[in-house]
Symmetry: C2
Subunit: 429 residues, 2 copies
């Protein structure tokens, strides 16, 4: 059993390397994922729908020669249940869509499947990727929320049930659950990946997310999604020359534990010879929180149209968000859109020298309880600006509960962002 | 029969006003659309799938009290067949998706239906809204192409088969068919409307389109899609103070007939006291054509993923576009994305004074033949910059074949663009 736990904790590239080197058998790796799920799923609740072990192995064995020759070898991935899958329902955490069977795979799912991944199941999402939680608990502390909305994907990764999972972020829906559960969560620059087949929430904010346990796995999956040459070896890792620090106070309150984690990270960066400069935003980043809320309010009720006709089946917070959006003045929406561009241009001209920004992923560790998914405001500014972001796990509070730090990159500079994260990850672990 | 032809030629608002005033019966208007289709569809071929008159009237009569109290009174609309409809298949002009039945309506369809519109049918699209033509012929001259990709929607509007239709534009897919057929075609600012349930082609370029016969109808439908207060009366019309003219030569060659149409329009503007300034872009707009092609090439093969696995069922031009995108260097893609922003900022700072841009919608009238849909380059620059655009019909060559002029607005300034178009439309008709 011990050796099995070791296997399932490996990263995706590590698993694939073990298969290539012959030190590990694909079915053993698949089985170790199912073993972990068997032991933990009843408590963690990461999965909304999933294949049984038998169904999975039957798919793998039935197409063994394809999978064995493929990049991803038939290893399992989880798909947030707002992303369409041809072979499984997509119910979006809502009673409105019970039994909804999409016609085809989302592009991201199709690409990972074509690269040899197998969908193990659909991971729990909050209602339409907004606030109302699903059944998932935080695997690091079952009394706590896993965060949302990519709750199941973050929990499944952090609990080593699968080595890769898909999520999405409109406000904080990848970074926050990744931070709370202790997973790597990467959100692409706005527009970077096809969102075909993913349920849109707000077209000016939605981004695809990837969750994994090692940065190199994110680099591999990013190449798969961009249909670029993908390798399981030798992923780039680069030290930033200069990091711009955005303390939580620029956005809102952060806990003492988070402040300490940020201080520790800054010390580590300095000890590595990285120049650290502090962001003095003069309220500009905090303003982005409200602009983000304006944009989201306006757009959600114009995307979730069918759903808005079933008000009785919507949660109170989602119905309230829709009401807000419907009564908004369009001028305020356009003003907020403009403001995000102005702030983005200001930010990177302010810190011409900086390669990347370091900021808290959330105000604190995951809050206790399962009625809410924690505060999203630490992500809203970056998401409003459409920047690529990655949660780098590793820091913990005195009780060993994860504290997440995010690295934020320049628009479309996702590859460098991942290289910096790949460099930083071992230093804080 | 003459009075029927008059009825079906009315604009949407005119029809609705006639119903409200009691001067016209809803069923008479519905019947006049079907009468026109009965007479012309065999030749024009605007429809891929459609309801019969009996099916339509049964839907209308079955929910008569809802429709009679609704804004759109049960009048028919056409939906480009890359936009999902719950009650009809969406086959996207491709053999790959024969029989494809979507799970739910696209948001735009759901909103028009909720406002009391009834889907008369799915209009012909080129293959995946790219180049390979469907069966549609130009109703103004059956020997000519209707343009693409929203071929059926433009033809159905221009031929007075329905008073409203949905389209989409990634390159020139609304403006060009609208110009060729003689319809109004409006393309929203990038991000303006929800694209949920519309087949994405290139996420950085795709926009929803609306087609109708009068600008006020577009204003009405825009309000419906934005869930704003919509009225069938008193739509705003505003004279621009200053118009920036972009002659076709800034993008490519234009015909003598188009040059004359532009000159005529400029004379009309001047005679109305509008200040006209000429764009000297120094090659900047022409460069946008290639940047647009780069962006589209990169993104299409990453959206049409499932389809790319059925190469044998793709047209040669689409397969070639995908090949190009797959072999591209990502740097060229990002460079092109950046260039569009730079050009957009330059454009409006160059002409601070200008309210709107006037340019040819296409190089010429619709070309003869049905093997291709005409050249899209007159639209590529504006689409690359994400600007709102409207084709204003009315000009014709010496043989009475339509010549389209486009008005191009500032980002998210769609309401003013429509007011300028509403002012200009009667002047050139």
């Amino acid at each position: 059993m011990n050796s099995l736990i070791e296997l399932n904790k490996m990263g995706l590239c590590q698993m694939l390397q073990a298969i290539e080197s012959g030190s590990c058998d694909t079915e053993a790796l698949i089985n170790t994922c199912f073993d972990r799920i068997d032991v933990r799923e009843l408590e963690v609740g990461a999965w909304h729908i999933k294949r049984t072990r038998e169904e999975y192995l039957s798919e793998y064995r039935g197409n063994k020669s394809f999978y064995d020759q493929s990049l991803l070898k038939g290893l399992p991935f989880g798909v947030k249940d707002i992303i369409d899958t041809e072979e499984m329902m997509t119910e979006m955490g809502s009673p409105i869509h019970i039994g909804r069977q999409p016609v085809e795979d989302a592009s991201c799912v199709a690409l990972i499947r074509a690269a040899g991944g197998i969908v193990l199941g659909k991971t729990v999402t909050t209602e339409f990727a907004y606030f109302k939680p699903g059944k998932t608990k935080n695997p690091a502390d079952l009394e706590r929320t896993p965060g949302g909305s990519s709750s199941g994907s973050a929990a499944a990764i952090a609990d080593s049930m699968v080595p890769m999972a898909l999520g999405s972020q409109t406000a904080a829906s990848v970074i926050r659950p990744a931070a709370y559960c202790g997973a790597i969560g990467y959100v692409g620059s706005r527009g970077e990946f096809s969102l075909r087949g993913g349920q849109p929430l707000a077209q000016s904010l939605d981004s695809l997310g990837l969750l994994a346990r090692r940065v190199e796995d994110i680099q591999l999956l990013r190449a798969v999604l961009l249909r670029q040459t993908a390798s399981i070896y030798n992923h780039q890792s680069t030290a930033p020359k200069c990091v711009l620090v955005c303390h939580g106070e620029s956005v809102g309150e952060t806990s003492a534990a988070m402040k300490k984690a940020m201080d520790n990270a800054i010390e580590i960066l300095k000890s590595q010879g990285v120049k650290v400069i502090e962001l003095d935003a003069g309220g500009r980043i905090k303003e982005m929180v409200n602009h983000h809320i304006n944009i989201m309010s306006w757009e959600v009720c114009r995307n979730l149209v069918i759903e808005s006709f079933h008000k009785e089946k919507l949660s109170e917070p989602l119905a309230a968000l829709m009401e807000q959006g419907l009564s908004m003045d369009r001028k305020d929406y356009v003003t907020s859109l403009d403001a995000t561009q102005v702030c983005r241009d200001w930010l990177w001209s302010y810190a011409l020298e900086a390669d990347v920004i370091l900021a808290p992923s959330a105000p604190d560790i995951a809050p206790l309880g399962h009625d809410a998914t924690g505060a999203p405001h630490m992500s809203r500014p970056w998401q409003a600006m459409g920047l690529p972001v990655i949660n780098v796990p590793g820091m913990k509070d005195q009780n060993d509960v994860p504290l997440g730090l995010q690295l934020i990159g320049k628009v479309r500079d996702d590859d460098m962002l991942l290289e910096y994260a790949n460099w930083m990850m071992p230093l804080i672990n």
